[in-house]
Symmetry: C2
Subunit: 401 residues, 2 copies
């Protein structure tokens, strides 16, 4: 059996992995309706004025502001009503001295007018409108180009589209947008002991858990998943998978990165690429392997479900987010106090899963082979490498799962 | 023109809308690979033991624990090696007194053995293994059913599937899972002044922004979007849309909820269902209308893009999350200080969009008709109804967009 190389600290592992991760360059065009949450791959500059015309910001009367000067509740100004202008319609009549037109919110301002008096500040008598508040030029008017003027950069390459930025692109009349493609991540379970879901188990086998947990983490961190078949832990088979999936931006193997005699992911990396690290000072998940083959990143995750998944959270997710050009994201956290004293190994960062009862954190970790160490937990506490004990009642930050 | 009814406070509006929202009952079956983030609609109880056999948690030697008692570095116990057991294989030989078998992590424990000695605590001499550490029964062994025993409830109806819960379902061998269907939300822009993206604008028209911003909010809060065509602001047309889309769980109209003469969503609700509220004491977004027609919820959002979108965040999102059975979610927040004094109207909750420069929040709000009031902002500050001023340098919580 082969020993791990020198264990490196988690921060160093994250740093090394981030160094190898390259921001994705592939782009694709998506419908604007599907664009929220995607990263724009073009600079979008407005070719139009938004709004394309000066419009009323209120329901009221379009006026020449100077005709209203001096108007007051007890001394209203009388204006002659010309027409009614609906939103979407074109005003037929211009406004001359002492004239006005009724106007709806969003409707185009008629020629000659430069302000809108709110309906609340008027009184109507047949063809006459009494204005009891003066307005200044531009009041209650959204000027042509005031929202977005022609030539304004609306979104820039690399920006993440949130709902309002999607709205700004829509304001320009664009139906689709060029975005960066989501990195493609091949997920490969290895080992003769792994059986696919829906099949019956042979003696000695357990079901494939890691493809499903890894896929969930990949999808929620900006990646697309290619779920690959379970492969035997043989050099030939693993090399075939690497060859056949050279179009993936990342391959994540689970199982086969430990120190067992049959764990040969290390050989695959050494023969076909470079090992960046093998062995991280974290618990669970120590035997994690990371390297590159050509332009592909390779993770060799421990086969044990909780070790595999917690490493996916702390190592794979930040690397994938960089490739997907997404901002880094910390999980939601709450403060709690420990239900009991916890002893930790100094020199290794520990991910202690906990169940929250009120604000008390009860350890939920069974062993790294048990998926219920995480599935029955509410979150996890990170115990730094230089801390050897959490006291009962000690305040801890719990990162929610 | 018709006045708004009495304005109600935002909290009251949210409360009334949540009262009308019913947790969805429709279910569907999805592949486990796509199940993360979905809400389970069945109680899943394990029908198997996980692991289905006692297995080694380490690379090492399967032993009878009592054979190792008294073993020490200077006084190792010698055991006769029987075979090598790989993960996924079936042990051929039972372990009798003073015997052991080499065993890989995850491999099935041979009959007769009850513990595993770590490889680090052994030395090998041909057919003989020297054990230098005693183990107790069960040590370094994951017992059959230890992770999930037969009959254990693994996930319950109504639980949100996160990656680890997906993993627990996978552990049972389940390929698919019954989940609650995402509520279907019809999004309907109204008004003659609205033009669909990709078309050229006629004079007096602006592009359809709200369908896209609303769709983004709906999708990220557990709903599916049915994007409907722009409809004229006529009673007939709006009633036709309501009739034709009776299968939607919610219809969201934008435009047509203000006080203008042509705004007839109110009539649609009064004739076909019930108005729950019309007019909320918020800025922007005052004229928002909410009601029910049959089992459908109806939102009449203001047509102005920023008013429409901020109302979608504060009113539509919580209602939709309840229908989708998702936990409520607060946006990520950071603390900042105001770049300048801001005066607010007492009696109305104000959503002030801001641009962050370091930890200084600069007001970014132009007007509710300008999508860039939000698209060029980083977040928003909520000024409560009973606060009339934020001082320069005052600490504020900024909710990120």
């Amino acid at each position: 059996m082969r020993p791990l190389r020198r264990l490196i600290q988690l921060d160093e592992a994250i740093g090394l992995a981030l160094c190898e991760a390259v921001e994705g360059k592939r782009t694709e065009v998506v419908q604007l309706l599907d664009a929220s949450g995607r990263v724009v791959a073009e600079d979008i500059v407005s070719e139009i004025e938004v709004p394309p015309f000066s419009r009323s910001a209120m329901d009221g009367y379009a006026v020449r502001a100077k005709d209203t000067y001096g108007a007051a509740r007890l001394k209203p100004v009388s204006l002659r009503l010309r027409e009614k202008i609906y939103a979407g319609a074109i005003p037929k009549k211009a406004i001359a001295k002492s004239e006005c037109s009724e106007i709806a919110t969003g409707a185009m301002l008629p020629k000659g007018s430069d302000a809108v008096v709110m309906v609340e500040d008027t009184e109507r008598h047949e063809g006459e409108v009494l204005v009891s508040e003066a307005v200044h030029p531009g009041q209650n008017v959204s000027k042509k180009g005031e929202d977005i003027s022609k030539g304004t950069p609306v979104v820039s390459k690399g920006e993440l589209l949130n709902p309002s930025k999607v709205g700004a692109v829509a304001a320009l009349g664009r139906k689709s947008v060029k975005v960066y493609a989501r990195p493609l991540v091949g997920v490969v379970p290895t080992g003769n002991e792994i059986a696919e879901l829906g099949r019956s188990l042979r003696p000695g086998q357990v079901y494939n858990i890691n493809s499903y947990t890894l896929a969930a983490v990949v999808t929620s961190n900006g990646g697309d998943v290619r779920k690959l078949d379970i492969v035997d832990d043989s050099l030939e088979e693993l090399e075939r998978v690497v060859r056949d999936n050279a179009d993936c931006d990342m391959l994540v193997f689970s199982g086969g990165s430990s120190v067992g005699e049959k764990d040969i992911m290390l050989d695959v990396l050494e023969r076909n690429g470079r090992v960046i690290f093998h062995g991280v000072a974290i618990k669970p998940g120590k035997p994690t392997l990371f390297g590159v083959v050509g332009k592909q990143l390779m993770f060799g995750m421990p086969g044990y479900p909780t070790a595999c998944l917690s490493n996916a959270y702390v190592l794979l997710a930040p690397v994938l987010r960089k490739m997907a050009r997404l901002p880094s994201k910390s999980p939601q956290a709450v403060t709690a106090r420990m239900a009991k004293r916890i002893v930790s190994t100094t020199g290794r960062t520990q991910f202690l899963t906990v169940k929250l009862v009120g604000d008390v954190a009860h350890p939920a970790f069974k062993e790294s082979g048990a998926i219920t160490s995480m599935a029955f937990a509410d979150g996890y506490v990170v115990i730094p490498a230089d801390v050897d004990m959490l006291e009962k009642d000690e305040a801890v930050e719990v990162f929610l799962l």
